[in-house]
Amino acid sequence: MKGPIISGAVILAGVFIFLKFLLPLFTAPLPASLIYLYLALALSGIMIYGTMSAPSLEAMMGPVYRFLSGQGQSGMGHMARLAVLVMFPLLVGWQTYSSLAPSDLPPAENRTIHPAPPGEFVGLSNPYPKTPENIMMGKGLYAAYCSPCHGANFDGKGTAAPGFNPPPADFTDPGTIAQLQEAYLFWRIKKGGVGLPVEGMPWKSAMPRWEEELPEEFIWKIIMGEYDGAHQSPRTWEEEE
């Protein structure tokens, strides 16, 4: 009698374990909603199979119906039935609430940190040789113009940094300038936050538009000083696929 229910449950558990734990070993984890959808599909498959003929229907659904109707039940069975009957409307009520309740949170921010640069900045290379003098000059300019935000240690912890959202980039973090080419930095430094495309949310960025204040020579040398000071190296053309 209990056979089909138990094998159905085993199949469902197997599907769940596969989707939730085994699949992520090979690919990105599935979102919870997709897992539920597949489980519901598996369940409907089991139900259809189980209800194909009268005997199989009875074998599968009989115990369920007897449990729900509550006839001839006592003790634990009785309590379990009551619990199921009470929980179901409560869950429906809770689901209704959580799907209707207006979100109380500020809009989510999905700022693209490294949007594509404008065409004229692609492929430029630093025209100044990496001599100790040039690097030193770049570091001096960095200390004067950039360190209040990006920090004397290139770590994004300048004295002005706490007031800005998004915060000034931390150049020692492998996720910032180590990912970028010098030409990209040249664009970002020249045009600043206001030069970003819409997905970079330029209206929020405190990064100044340095072309208004610094000649290109200074910017190229600052880039050298920046990489040297942060102990990073620029991404080069050969690494591009």
């Binding site: 909603s33 959808l37 519901a40 139900m47 006839q71 009957l85 209707l100 929020k204």
Partner: protein
């Protein structure tokens, strides 16, 4: 035994849809709790008149506030490398008609040049936090600035769209009142939620807007005013909204959901009992 294949089919199909709908509803992930990065100003709804003239009113005590860090203005010349005020606390209230925002911060001395300002984006186009300065790839909008000065004891309603475009609006809609006590400034800005002026930010309860803060310490240092004009403490954009009044219709739907689920159970159980007792 079981009563007829037909009604069982029906019941199992209904049940199937129930399970499908239920599991997909269940899959809606719970909302994330408020993260530090998403701090905002919330103007809570009060009944009756607002404490617009009294920064020390006990009405403010019942309202939670949020704190925002400020930075010396090093974004654009004339820069300043060090400022007196490192953060502000902001609280807000509204009564469906009018709003009041209390800005509170530490400033050891009361000086004629002390000042505080709130900045808002106006309209649908995003505006750069630095006076709506021009963006190169995005068409920006204007900003509305509420500028309170200790010297005049008043708040001025201003507009800007780009550097050097800041001007006093022809139509003034904002009030300001500041009180300094024991090293703390408390400044209340107030206005109607909505005005007739298209240069103004319009506040619709439930809608998120963007706000930024600026503070000037007008102390005299070596014969000069320490902070004035572009030399000030600033923040970038944060979110602000007037809290909407509770929507009680949701509870109606919840009760309806509960009742439908209970009725569904009742029908099934009765049907099953009939089936089995035959």
């Amino acid at each position: 035994m079981l009563n007829g294949l037909g009604s069982l089919r029906t019941i199992s199909i209904i049940g199937l849809f129930g399970v499908l709908g239920f599991s997909s509803a269940f899959a809606s992930e719970p909302p994330a709790s408020e993260e530090p990065g998403s701090v905002s100003v919330r103007m809570y709804q009060l009944e009756g008149s607002l404490p617009v003239d009294d920064p020390n009113s006990s009405q403010w005590d019942s309202v939670p506030g949020s704190e925002f860090n400020l930075a010396p203005q090093v974004h654009w010349p004339p820069r300043i490398q060090e400022v007196t005020v490192k953060s502000v606390k902001a609280k807000g209230v509204h009564n469906g008609q009018e709003l009041a925002i209390l800005v509170e911060y530490d400033d050891p001395t009361e000086d004629a040049g002390d000042a505080a300002a709130l900045e808002f984006m106006v309209g649908d186009k995003p505006a750069h936090f630095a006076h709506g300065q021009e963006m190169l790839q995005v068409e920006g909008g204007p900003v509305n600035i509420w500028f309170w000065k200790k010297e005049s004891g008043q708040a001025v309603d201003m507009s800007a769209k780009g550097f050097k475009t800041l001007e006093t609006q022809p139509r003034q809609d904002v009030q300001g009142k500041g009180v300094w006590q024991n090293g703390t400034w408390k400044v209340v800005f107030s206005r109607l939620l909505k005005t007739e002026d298209e240069q103004d930010v319009q506040i619709e309860p439930g809608e998120w807007k963007s706000v930024a803060f600026a503070i000037w310490d007008g102390a005299i240092v070596d014969g000069l005013v320490k902070e004035k004009g572009g030399q000030k403490a600033v923040s970038t954009w944060w979110y602000i909204r007037a809290e909407p009044s509770a929507d009680n219709s949701i509870f109606g739907w919840v009760i309806l959901g509960l009742a439908l689920a209970a009725a569904f159970e009742l029908v099934i159980v009765r049907k099953l009992r009939k089936g089995q007792s035959v």
